[in-house]
Every structure is written in C-alpha cells, then in structure tokens.
Amino acid sequence: MKENDIRFLKLLILVNGLVPLALLVWDQSHQQLGANPQNFLILTTGMMTLIFLVLTMAVTPLRKITGWNWLLQFRRLLGLYAFFYGCLHFLCFFSLDRGFSVSSTLTEMVKRKYLIVGSIALLVMLPLAITSTNAMIKRLGGKRWRALHRLAYVAAIAGVIHYYMQAKADVRQPRVFAAVLAILLGYRLVVYLRQTKPAKPATTEAKPG
C-alpha cells in the first residue's frame, strides 16, 4: 500500500469513528435520546469503547491471516478511539450520574465491583495512549514498548467483564463481546504455543533394535 492510500484510510477511520459521537450530540440537542438520555449516553459511549477495543485487538490476527501488513498502521488510531470513548464514558458517568461529585464517584466506585473493573480498563489505557506517539516508541524502544502495550489485553478483558457484570439478566450482548474477544485472544495463544513448542529431544525417540 502506498503511503498516500494509508493516509486516506486513516482519514476514513478518523471520520467514521466520529460519526457515533456526532449523532449522539445531534440526538441530544434534538432531545431524541429516549426517555433516559443520561443512561443512553453512558451506555452508548461504553459500547463504542468496547467496539474500538475489539477492533484494535482484531488488527494483529487479521494482519497475520491475510498477510496485509499495512493493517498495523491503523492500530494506534483504533486504540486511541477506544481510549477517547472510554474517557467520554467516564465523563458521562461522572457528570450525569454522579453530578460532578468526586466523593460520590469515589464511594460508588469502591462499593461496586463492576465499576472497579471498568476503572481498571480505563486506567490501563492511559499509559498506552500517552506512549502511543512515534517519539515515545523510539524512547522506550520497541521491545519495552511492546511489553507495555500488552496492557491492551487487560483493558479489553476488563472492559468486557465490566459490561457483563452490570447486565441485569440479559447477558446476550456481553456474551457476544466475550466470544469475539476470546477468539481474538485465543488466536494469539495458539500462535504463541506453536512458536514455543520445543523440538522433541532425540533421546526420547525409540532406537531401532
């Protein structure tokens, strides 16, 4: 892929990632977010976070299966979108649900397990977003940077668990996210196990008599 095409595809992701936010703002200003707009805003921004986390996680398996190495170029943008919607999700909770009260947000977070899990997901994404620039990759060095960015797995897993835990009874959607994530992580595990499978030592082989 040409550099120019890559840049266009990045723009495509950038614009499309903003569409849900634009529609949220539009619907909010037209008072058509439904009977419980606060809840809808919190839920939808959370959903967008999960979608972008899953998309980020899908890049490497897709790249390896298709051989399209240029896919890697979109991972940062997808990951940053996950962080962006995650921040919006928290801001909606902090403002609309907790009325900007730090103390009530903290007590609620400590008391509710699913909020602790959600906070872990968001906090873990913070260092990843900070170190997402080219300069930071250089500064950390590829090896350390890659090790740090394995935290993305923690964010994705914690995010899905957070979604699962807050569901009242219908866990079909959380299950879909969990299944997709399991496939994406399972792929990595299989690749890892295959790579590290030790060669059979010759001594164990039966000797011809």
């Binding site: 495509l12 569409v19 529609l23 058509q32 606060q38 008391k111 509710r112 009874a169 219908d170």
Partner: protein, 326 residues
Amino acid sequence: MKEPDKISDSEVTPPAVYFNRRNFIRTGILAASAAATGMAYRKLNPVGKGAVKTAKLAGVIAAPAATNAATGFRVDEPATSFDAITHYNNFYEFSTDKEGVASAAQGFDTTGWQVSVEGLVNRPKVFKLDDLLKISPPEERIYRMRCVEGWSMVIPWAGFSLSKLLDVVEPTSEAKYVAFETLLDPKRMPGQRSEVLNWPYVEGLRLDEAMHPLTLLASGIYGRALPPQDGAPIRLVTPWKYGFKGIKSIVKIKLVADQPRTSWSEYAPNEYGFYANVNPQVDHPRWSQATEQRIGAAGRRPTLMFNGYEEQVGHLYAGLDLRKNF
C-alpha cells in the same frame, strides 16, 4: 502473440486531472462510508416513536386535588410524560430492551382475556375481563414508580384496589399469600422464546399487602386503557415496592397458604427478595439504591423509604428485619 494496443500520449490522463479525479472519488468514499456508519448507528438506535393510542376508559373517577395526603392516592409531583411511560418499559415478555418493548408489543391481542381467581377462596371464578373491570369503577391514582434499576416515574394509573376483587372471591382463613401469574404464550409474547427468565412470570404478595388500599389492579394510564407495553389489559401496582413486583398482563390470581415463588427472586435470590420494598438503606449487591434518576428530570434525587409511602405501609413491616427481608 499480439502486442498490446499502444496508447497514444494524448490518451493518457494528465496527472492534474488524475489526482483531481482521485480526490473526487476519495471524497465520495469518505462521505458514503460516513453515511453508511450513520445509518448503521440509526438502525441500532432508532428515533421517532410510534404514536400510542388506546381506547379512553369510561367513567374514570379523577383523583381530586384535595385527596387526603394520608391516603397516598395522589402524589403531588409532576407526572412523567405519557410518551416516556409508554416507551421506557421493563417487560421481558416482549423485549429486554426498555426502549424496544413498545414496538415489540405493538398489536398484542387481548381479546377474550380472562383472569382466573382461585385457590383458598370461597367463591373461585374465572372472570371475563369486562366482568372483572365492573367490580369497581376505575379511580385515578397518581403513584411514584421506582424501578429496582435506579430510575423512577410518576404515573397516573386508573384502576381499583385489589382488595375489592379479593372481597368478591372471599379468601378463606387459610389464605396467607396471593400468587399472580402472567400470560404464557410465546406466540404473542416473543420474549418468552428466549429463556432469560423462567416463564411464565410469577409474583406474590402477603395477604395483608394485597388487601392494602394502595395495592392497585390497574387497567389504564392517563385515562386510557393500558397499552400492551405497560401490561395490558390488567396489571398489579404496588407503589412502595420496586417496579418488578407490579406483574403485568395477569391471567391468574391464586390465594395460597405458603409464600409463593417469584420470578426475579428465583432468578437471583441474593439480588431480589420476595418483599422488594423500596429501601434507600439496603443496596442492590451491584448498585446503590440511595438515589434514583427521575425520568424526564436532570440529576439524581434521594430515594424515599418505602418510596415515600412509609406512613401508609410502614406498619405492615413492624418488627421485620428489612435487611434480611429485602
């Protein structure tokens, strides 16, 4: 082998035109993809609701403004809009999506509806809906409704006290509880095809709770017959309890001696109890019950003990440990 046709220089697109065309196409792709994303979003999050219109109920006795506050029959708070009451429903028989119940329940047919009142009573009877509604004229009751999920509404119901029906069938002295059951018909209630809950939905009250004047057998809201999404044609309303106690589309009422099983407490006994009285001091294991989101209002407000009906119903629970009996 034939040589490929030569392209003359004049046929080659000049770079300026080529790049312009490429930009043009790219702009098109950009716009088309954004539109497609937008449409996918819209499909998942539709706006614009179908208008809800049900028959006007005849002879509703409006709650007079001067209704004695001590009765609890008329809460002095702005009522939630008809639109919100009919488009934000927990009714898993149709959909687990609160905003999707209205459309999923559209066209729910209640013709020929019957309610069997049976069990430990002297005069068991299968009531035709019309006969049941004739027991007493519908009264307007403006109640708070507090959902266990942490949101609330103020709803102008139409109906009469359940005690009036129980008086007709005469519970025997062995009767201690009342068990309720919703229609079981996966064809008319598509949500019952998935096993989110153990169908049919069942609920129950202690007999003294059932006989309390606040306990309402409702057939309408805002002076109109209940729309399907709100529990047509007849439902229970117990304003001091969490909303899920208000069983909808009732087909059976049975007087029994022992505490009946109830759907949500069966589903998650540690999260939902038999009593389910609104109590800001006893949290749901996963979220606080201290505050609530009033639909149509900004911010959260403190939740009141027994949903503000402590004066009327508090005595029913004297000596009961409300932490254990949540």
